[in-house]
């Protein structure tokens, strides 16, 4: 088993347990009483409100499932939105998710306090009612448990949820026997005393009971077989919970007439009525049933609050990884191995929310819902962006049915439901959104280097879209590079001690010229038969050679005034890993040896063509072992790759004092226009001081003949795919290969390939 596999230990049942355990909490145990009596009495119609809530949750669950299987990463909603819509919306989503969870946890704590008050007499403190006191105690315990990281075993969690479901099932059965349709419908005003218009405001109130399914996605990286288990768990838990809610609320209202339903602990009250006072000789059954329901409510709210606090730490981690918040927040406690700072900050927010807003449970529950709904809406938009931009990395195992109707519906329903909230919750959530945007511009914009797929998409279509759109995308784009260093990253793939020094010289000159840094990597190809784990364990010998090579690289780079980092990468793949490493390290230029391109060996596969047609950054491939730079020749006919050649030549001229000559091979009789072109090109590329040469004849032959006079020839790829042809050895480059002078091949991904990448195949 690879380490990847070992880290995955959540099966389908565990995943479902997380979803159901989080959702079944204060919402169903507290809100039915509030909802039926809301706005002068909505009445039994609230059953429909719960079902509508379930439908909205289900539409969003489909989108979360698709995004989750495409990107099983810690962070969930925040991560998808940051990746698709960029860090400004990412900041909104991260803040929204985080604050939404804090509000939800405060709400769960209040729910806990309400049921606790059934058991014990809680004191009041000036400014706080008894329930708030109970909630503060409960909230502090939840925070403490997470801070210490006291482990509940997976077994216990499953048992708790199982117990909860059984308690609710028994209640439903008992309720079924005491169910009286007259109790449900026989009150003043019938089934809908407040009219059918009360349905959606009811949904707005109870939607908090459905927050939780998205938590499964925040731990997606820990799921076994996420492609299958994630959608089943998310969609399944929403379906199960919706059915449970519909049955429970109907039962409650068929047992206790709705105007009399308790606003604090309705389930305990209904149980008291539903169960007979005595069964045979046993008396006090009803009281015991109410007590059991109360214990169930306490368990349910506690597990919801716990899961939410944990999920908020995940979101903080994901935001820290993208540098939207400081990583200080995500430090791990030395003894408890918990992200204690994140938990304390979230805990502080929960305590404040309980103390300031806990008098009115509606504000807490609705604020939690509004913030989550904003995140859901953005998530649906993000899904559409991923699909439309056709990003190659975006490859979900589960896709939403009826695209694009489902995500559009999800976004519309989510925002639509927000409209049924009250002004105060919308204002409160709006304030957090504004704060998130302000945070992005004041803090995160300079730090993060994450660019959304959306802004790439807009920028690549600059010509087709109105200026305002492009301008807006630029105005909010991140300015940070993630690294301390602001300049480009020049990645060197060293593989051979003989060529190492030449490659580092080129990279060092470039990095110094551009004010960037050098990243020297040694990619060690491990045979497929050997697992990477084994290879890593037996790497003593390998480490030594690798370390020596990289140490030499570092020493060579010292000649330049640039920061250097070194890395050894173990991989089953050869050249593909170079591409991967370039992507993951955000390299701007890759410098590698000609021999290095060969280490694909016999394993040239179909995907390689695709890879090399889709360069992640500029590539410089050196054919030659030693460099003794005094003068360089740059043959050019224009084009993006020769722009790169010019940049390299400029860097060598400015840092090493190398003389630059430019060569244009013209057809005979056209020397004059050739000279004009070359002079213009030289001026346009900051090489006006270069020696200009115009020759006639066959291009390759001329380069071969003239090149011999120089210490380096820099050849730009005149067409895309040059690199792929070198790798496969199909390029007839004999003249140049036979040249004694070292040759540097440069290839820059053309604008067209980016366009193709984004719009591929359409």
């Amino acid at each position: 088993m690879s380490e990847e596999e070992l880290a995955k230990d959540l099966g389908l049942v565990s995943a479902m347990t997380i979803g159901i355990g989080t959702m079944i909490g204060a919402g169903i145990f507290v809100l039915p009483g509030v909802a039926v009596n809301a706005d002068g009495g909505a009445g039994p119609i609230v059953v429909v409100s719960f079902i509508v809530g379930g439908v909205i949750a289900m539409v969003n669950a489909l989108s979360v499932s698709e995004l989750g299987t495409a990107m099983p990463k810690a962070g969930g909603g925040y991560y998808y939105i940051n990746k698709s819509l960029g860090p400004m919306f990412g900041s909104i989503a991260g803040m929204g998710d985080w604050m939404g969870l804090a509000f939800a946890s405060a709400f769960y704590s209040i729910g806990f306090g309400q049921y606790l008050a059934v058991f014990v007499d809680l004191p009041t403190i000036p400014g706080l009612n008894a329930i708030q006191v109970g909630a503060l105690v409960a909230g502090s315990i939840f925070i403490g448990v997470n801070y210490i990281g006291a482990k509940e075993t997976g077994g216990i969690q499953t048992v708790i949820v199982g117990l909860l479901l059984s308690i609710l099932a028994i209640f439903s059965v008992a309720g079924f026997f005491s169910f009286d349709y007259a109790t449900l419908a026989g009150n003043e005003g019938g089934l809908a005393p407040g009219g059918y218009g009360a349905i959606l405001p009811g949904t707005a109130l109870v939607f908090v009971s459905f927050l939780g399914y998205a938590k499964i996605a925040t731990v997606a990286e820990e799921l076994k077989n996420p492609g299958r288990n994630l959608p089943i768990a998310i969609i399944g838990s929403v379906a199960i919970v919706t059915v449970i809610y519909a049955i429970l609320v109907t039962t409650m209202l068929g047992v206790v007439p709705w105007p009399e339903l308790s606003q604090d602990a309705p389930v305990a009250q209904a149980a008291q009525v539903a169960f007979p006072e005595s069964i045979g000789p046993i008396t006090g059954v009803a009281g015991a049933a109410a007590a059991v329901m109360t214990v169930g409510a306490l368990l349910a709210t506690a597990s919801s609050a716990n899961a939410s606090i944990l999920a908020s730490a995940r979101i903080n981690f994901a935001m820290g990884r993208d540098k939207i918040v400081t990583n200080w927040l995500n430090e791990i406690h030395p003894n408890y191995a918990t992200p204690y700072r994140s938990i304390l900050v979230t805990g502080g927010l929960i305590v404040v929310f309980i103390a300031l807003l806990g008098q009115d449970i509606e504000i807490l529950s609705k604020a939690a819902s509004v913030l989550h709904l904003i995140v859901y809406a953005l998530m649906n938009v993000g899904l559409i962006v991923f699909r439309e931009a056709d990003t190659p990395e975006y490859d979900p195992d589960f896709t939403v049915p009826l695209y694009p109707i489902t995500p559009i519906l999800g976004a519309v329903l989510s925002l639509g439901l927000v409209a049924f909230m009250d002004g105060i919750e919308i204002a409160l959530s709006g304030a957090f959104v504004v704060a998130a945007v302000a945070w992005y511009f004041l803090y995160a914009r300079d730090k993060t280097d994450q660019q959304g797929v959306l802004s790439e998409f807009i920028r690549s279509r600059e010509g087709e879209l109105p200026d305002q759109v492009v301008g807006a995308a630029d105005a909010v784009a991140p300015t940070g590079t993630g690294a301390e260093n602001e300049g480009p990253t020049i990645m060197v793939a060293v593989s051979n001690p003989r060529t190492e020094s030449a490659l580092i010289t080129l990279a060092g000159a470039l990095a110094q010229h551009e004010g960037g840094r050098v990243l020297a990597t040694h990619i060690v190809t491990v045979p497929d038969q050997t697992s990477l784990e084994t290879a890593a364990e037996n790497r003593t010998g390998l480490d030594q050679s690798s370390e020596e090579l990289l140490a030499e690289a570092a020493a060579d780079a010292e000649a330049f005034d640039v920061p250097i980092e070194t890395k050894t990468i173990l991989s089953h793949r050869g050249i593909e890993e170079v591409f991967d490493a370039a992507r993951t390290n955000d390299a701007d230029t890759v410098v590698m040896g000609y021999g290095g391109t060969r280490f694909a060996g016999g394993r040239v596969e179909g995907s390689l063509d695709e890879l090399t047609h889709d360069l992640p950054c500029d590539f410089l491939v050196l054919d030659g072992q030693r460099l003794d730079l005094s003068d360089v020749l740059v043959p050019t006919a224009g084009g993006p790759s020769s722009d790169l050649s010019a940049e390299v030549a400029r860097a060598l001229r400015d840092t090493l004092g190398v003389d630059v000559s430019l060569l244009y091979v013209a057809d005979s009789g056209e020397e004059e226009s050739g000279r004009e072109f070359l002079a213009g090109w030289a001026g346009g590329h900051g090489l006006a001081d270069a020696d200009l040469r115009v020759e006639t004849g066959d291009v390759e032959e001329t380069i071969g003949r003239v090149g011999g006079e120089y210490s380096l020839v820099i050849v730009g790829a005149t067409e895309r795919g040059l690199l792929s042809r070198i790798v496969r050895g199909s390029l007839a480059f004999e003249t140049i290969e036979n040249l004694d002078t070292p040759v540097l091949l440069s290839e820059r991904p053309s604008a067209r390939s980016l366009w193709e990448r984004l719009f591929g195949g359409r």
Binding site: D9, I148, N335, A337, E537
Partner: protein, 146 residues
């Protein structure tokens, strides 16, 4: 698995398994072991898994922590090997790792804390010394009195 009569012949410090929790802990533990000049060292980090519930920290963060810890050990023992285990029970994972890397002893440094803290976070020291099938070396804590 090594049978007991074979262990009789083995050098106690032939191959020391060094469980480390985080960067500082790794550095302190490695420094405490340094004077005894072990022949071979394998640094072990156990990523605590929930096995049914979400972990305390994201996997990615746990693995970062492991990498930092190994790097810290290597500042003292440059040739140290590394081994990452994923388990809910840290002590059991350490014992499994002993067999996997064929270590001759476990060297660790108690992370202290009062009884309550040790009880709550699971008393690792107690489990290590009472259940191990190879010798367990308790390294002295820096600054502790004789």
């Amino acid at each position: 698995m090594t049978s007991t009569d074979e262990t009789d012949e083995r050098d106690l410090l032939g191959h020391v398994l060094l469980p480390v929790a985080h960067e500082d802990d790794a550095l302190a533990t490695a420094r405490a072991l340094e004077p005894y000049d072990p022949e071979r060292v394998t640094a072990l980090h156990v990523v605590e898994k929930g096995e049914g519930v979400p972990d305390k920290t994201p996997v990615e963060q746990s693995e970062e922590l492991a990498a930092e810890s190994y790097a810290a050990v290597r500042t003292v023992f440059p040739d140290a090997d590394e081994h990452t285990a994923y388990a809910r029970d840290i002590a059991d994972a350490i014992f499994d790792a002993v067999d996997e890397v064929d270590a001759t002893a476990i060297a660790y440094q108690s992370r202290g804390g009062n009884r309550l803290v040790q009880f709550l976070s699971g008393d690792l020291s107690m489990k290590l010394v009472t259940k191990s099938h190879v010798p367990v070396i308790a390294l002295p804590r820096e600054g502790s009195t004789e």
